[in-house]
């Protein structure tokens, strides 16, 4: 039985794209766009900016095609570029805003007047996490990345990943305690 190996397909597409085949790069875009968009929305907090970050991610990938050495998977490599672009976006936001948007998002859980909306509150709680904590939580919970993969994407030691993830979960638990057992 032939095993389908998406990682190997990615490497082949990368090789062809690096050789100048435009269609191969577009295939990579189709393959990873949805997953990376979800990650981008989690990291920047809204779909409009996430789309910009996603575009910059693929442009960065296009420019760095020849620098890809295949030591990590294409998925990890693209995620690393996305995290870098999202961090750049956050830096730009900090420069242009006096009050971060995150702080203005209220969390309704526990409010007596309006019925709580779990989805909105989860998103609001996520946006109130620090970018470092949000990154690891999204990568683990949405992308199912291993600790080692996260460490590679973020360029930090595995122990730091574990401690950040623990703190992120503790914060989320505190913010969403009304919904949790």
């Amino acid at each position: 039985m032939v095993q389908h190996n998406p990682g190997a397909d990615d490497i082949e597409l990368m090789r062809r794209a690096a050789a100048g085949e435009a269609g191969a790069f577009h295939a990579l875009v189709d393959r990873h766009a949805q997953r990376l968009f979800r990650l981008a929305v989690s990291l920047v907090g809204n779909a409009v900016d996430a789309e910009d970050v996603l575009q910059e991610t693929f442009i960065g990938a296009l420019r760095g095609l020849r620098s890809f050495e295949g030591r990590s998977s294409v998925r990890t490599w693209l995620s690393r570029i996305l995290v870098t672009q999202a961090a750049r976006w956050h830096r730009d936001q900090r420069r242009s805003r006096t009050q971060p948007m995150d702080e203005s998002i209220p969390i309704s859980a526990g409010g007596a007047d309006s019925p709580p909306d779990v989805g909105m509150d989860v998103n609001a709680a996520m946006q109130r996490l620090s970018p470092e904590h949000r990154q690891v939580l999204v990568m683990r919970e949405f992308e199912q990345m291993s600790y080692d993969e996260m460490a590679e994407v973020l360029g930090i030691p595995r122990g730091t990943v574990e401690s950040r993830l623990h703190r992120a979960r503790s914060e989320m638990r505190e913010k969403l305690k009304a919904y949790l057992p």
């Binding site: 779909a47 575009q55 296009l62 683990r140 949405f142 638990r173």
Partner: protein, 153 residues
């Protein structure tokens, strides 16, 4: 209340990051420890909650815009290469033209008829046995010379 010594491994256990022996320990420990079991249930509930939240999807138009942007970046890359190649070609052309002009000038100088120096006639005249001096300058020079030799005591 004392915390269970296994609690620090629960998250790694939940994330599937423990080695086999530690995982077996946790598995056998869980039925005996209420706080660890509750902690694990809380982690599961939070994951469910995060995943049940609205999962954003890139729209078709968004995907189209993404492909367009990639195409544009590819064209920009090709244009940049073309621009660099054009600049190199222009430099080679200018340098080549300058070199050609210089070479042509050098050849023109080499091929030009040599102009005889003023003393060439003098030498010819003095060498000629007839003693005929073809130019006034030569005559003057030789006359002056002989006059000087006469005056010598």
């Amino acid at each position: 209340m004392a915390t269970c010594p296994f609690s620090e491994y629960l998250e790694a256990f939940y994330d599937g990051e423990l080695d086999d022996s530690r995982r077996s320990e946790i598995v056998s420990h869980l039925p005996q420890c209420g706080s660890c079991a509750a902690e694990l249930r809380c982690l599961q509930a939070m994951s469910r909650m995060l995943l049940s939240g609205s999962s954003p999807k890139l729209s078709q138009i968004g995907l189209y815009r993404l492909h367009e942007r990639v195409d544009q970046a590819m064209e920009d890359g090709v244009l940049r290469i073309v621009r660099v190649l054009s600049a190199i070609a222009a430099c080679v052309l200018v340098a080549g033209s300058a070199w050609l002009m210089r070479t042509r000038e050098d050849r023109a100088v080499e091929n030009a008829t040599p102009v005889a120096p003023p003393w060439a006639d003098v030498v010819e005249a003095s060498d000629s046995p007839s003693g005929a001096y073809s130019t006034p300058a030569a005559a003057w020079y030789l006359a002056d010379d002989s006059a000087r030799s006469d005056e010598t005591p």
